[in-house]
Subunit: 335 residues, 2 copies
Amino acid sequence: MLDERKLAVLRAIITDYVENSEPVGSKALVERYHLDVSPATIRNDMATLEEEGYLTQPHTSAGRIPTDKGYRLFVDRLATLKPLSPAERRAISTFLSGAADLDDVVTRTVRLLAQVTQQVAIVQYPVVSTAVIRHIDVIRLHPDRALVLLVTSTGRITQTSVELPVETRDDQVEAAAVRIAAGVRNMTSTQAVRALSGMAAEEGADLVLGIVVHALTALLAADPTTRVVVGGVQNVARFGEDFHTAMEPVLEALEEQVVLLRLLGEVRDDLTVRIGHENEHVGLQSTSVVASGYGMPDDAWATLGVVGPTRMNYPSTMASVRAVARYVGRFLAEG
Amino acid sequence: MLDERKLAVLRAIITDYVENSEPVGSKALVERYHLDVSPATIRNDMATLEEEGYLTQPHTSAGRIPTDKGYRLFVDRLATLKPLSPAERRAISTFLSGAADLDDVVTRTVRLLAQVTQQVAIVQYPVVSTAVIRHIDVIRLHPDRALVLLVTSTGRITQTSVELPVETRDDQVEAAAVRIAAGVRNMTSTQAVRALSGMAAEEGADLVLGIVVHALTALLAADPTTRVVVGGVQNVARFGEDFHTAMEPVLEALEEQVVLLRLLGEVRDDLTVRIGHENEHVGLQSTSVVASGYGMPDDAWATLGVVGPTRMNYPSTMASVRAVARYVGRFLAEG
DNA sequence: ACTTGGCACTCTCTGGAGCAGAGTGCCAGC
DNA sequence: GCTGGCACTCTGCTCCAGAGAGTGCCAAGT
C-alpha cells in the first residue's frame, strides 16, 4: 500500500507544510525535495495518501495538508529526532544550574521549555512516592484554628488548617504533635496512613489528637495531586493565523489544573506525542501535546511537556522535550 | 470649553462604542441617544472634542472613537458605577463562602473576578504587615541540607533551604531552632529582624545558628513580595478582533510576576483605573487596568484587579471590581 | 505495471471598476 | 449658536476578468 516513495512524499509534505503553513502541491514538492519523478507521479501518490486518510485538501484543486493521522504516521515511522545544537544544550544546562529548591527547579524548567520550543510548557511537580515524612507540626494560629504541617524528605510541604475546640490548651496541642511526629517519622506516606489509623484508636487518644490525625490522613491520602505549572502562554498567539478561533478553549484548558493533570497523567513512556483529536479534552483537539516523564522511576517521577499547534515541528520539539526532561532528571538526581 | 452637551456627546459616544465596537457617527448618535439637536450640531461638538484630544477618527470621514484621554474624562467625571444585579451579588457571596484557607480564598477570588468581569483577573496575596511570627522550624533533609520554615499568625508559610556543614549534629540544629524560636515568637517581621541580628552577635552563637539566622533574615527581609495569581486568561481571546496583534505582549506581561506586582503596587486608593498609555508597561498599553485595594488597612491589605481592553465597560467593570474587593475584605475580616 | 506528458477543469486570489452608504466639513441662513 | 443643505471623501461590497496553482484523468511510453 505505502511504498517507500509514498512515505517520502508524506514526509516531504509535512516538512514543507510545517515550514510554510501552506498547502503543498505536487509541482512545488518535486522541485523542492528533488524526488526524481514527475509531478504526475506524485499526484498519484498523493491521491493514494488522501484515500488512506493521511492527507486532505482544504478545497478541491488546492495543495494537500497532513491530517492528524498523517502526522501520527510521521511521528511513528518517519521522523528522526533533530539533535539539539550545542547552543541549545548549553542554554539548558546553564538555565538549570543554580536552582535552589524544588520550586525553583520547576519554575526554571517551565521557562526553559517554553523558550526552547516556543510553545506552551507544562511541568508537573515530581510525585515522590518513596519520600518519607521528615517533620510534622501543629501550629496554633487562633484560639480555634491551627495549621497542620507536613514536610517530606524531598522538601515538599503540604498543609491544611483544622478547627480546634476553643478550650484546647496549648500543651495538649503540643503533646499531640510530639506523639504523632514520633509515630510517623521516616515513614512513607502509605506506612504513615496505617500508623495514624492505629494511633487514633489507641489508648489515651484525645480529641485533639483525633483531629490532627484526621487532618494528616487527609493530607497524605490526597492524591499526590502535585501541582502543574504552566509557562509561555504568550506563544499561543504565535500558533498561527487560522488558530485564532480555537484559541479561547485552549487558554481555558491551560488554566484548569484538572485538565492538565489528566493530560500529563496518561504519559508513561519516555516520550509521548498526542496529536490533535487524540487528545481527550475537546479544547485541545486542535493542538498536539509532546510530553515525557522525568526524574527517577519510583523516586521523583513526574511529567513535563509542551502544547503546540498540530502543525508543529515534531522532530525538533520532541528532541527538545526529551533533552529537557533528561537534564532536569539528572539535575534532580544530583541535588 | 466643554459644556454640558459636549460632555453628553462624549458619554454617548463611549457608551455606543463600547457596545458596538464601531466608530460612531453624528447621525446615529442623535437617533440612538435622543439628544435634541441636529446632527450638524453634534458634528461641531465632535470637532471640538477631537481638537481637545478626547476623540479621534480611524480615517477621514469615518465616525469617531474615544482616545485614552476621552476614556479618562469619562471615568473621572461622567461615569456612574452600574450597581450589580442581585444575581451577581449572590454569585459573589456564594462563590466565596466555604473557602477554607488563604490559598483557597485567593484562588476563588481570582476565578470569581474573571467570571463576573469577563476579563483577566489578577489577585495579590494579602501582605500582612502586623502578622507576627508564630513558628519557626529547621528540618534536616539531608546531611548537608536543611529546610528553614517560617509561619506567621495569618497562616502564611515561607521557606528556604540552607546548606549545613556535614558534620553538624542533629542536636545542634535542634538547639538553634529552639533558641531562635524562643527569641522571635510573636514578633512582627521588623522586630524579628532586629532581634535576629542581635542573636547572631551574642555569646555562644555557633555556626549553625548563624546560618539559620541568616536564612531567616533573608526570608523576613524579602519584600513581602506576595505572589500574584492570574485567572481568566482565556478572556483575552475575546478582547476584540483588532486586538490580535497586541495579544502576545499582553500574555507575556501577565506571566511576569514582577510586572504584575508593579502594576498592582501602584494602587493605593479604593478604586484605581489605568487607561491604555497610562500603564507603564508597554505590553499593556493597549489595555486598561481596573484595580482596588482590599482587606483591612494595615492588616491584610492587598490589591486585586482586572486587565481588559481599553474599550471596556468601565461603569460595570469598576462596580464589579469594587464589589468583589469589598466582599473579599469582609470575608477575610470575619475568617 | 508504473511512470509520464498532456490537457481540460476547478478553485482561489488579486486588482480594478463601479456603486451605495455613512460620515465629514463648511457655509449661509435663521 | 443652531440648523439644513451641499459637496466631498472614504470604506466596503460586488462583480468581473485574468493569472496562477493545483488537480484528475487518460493515453502513450518504458
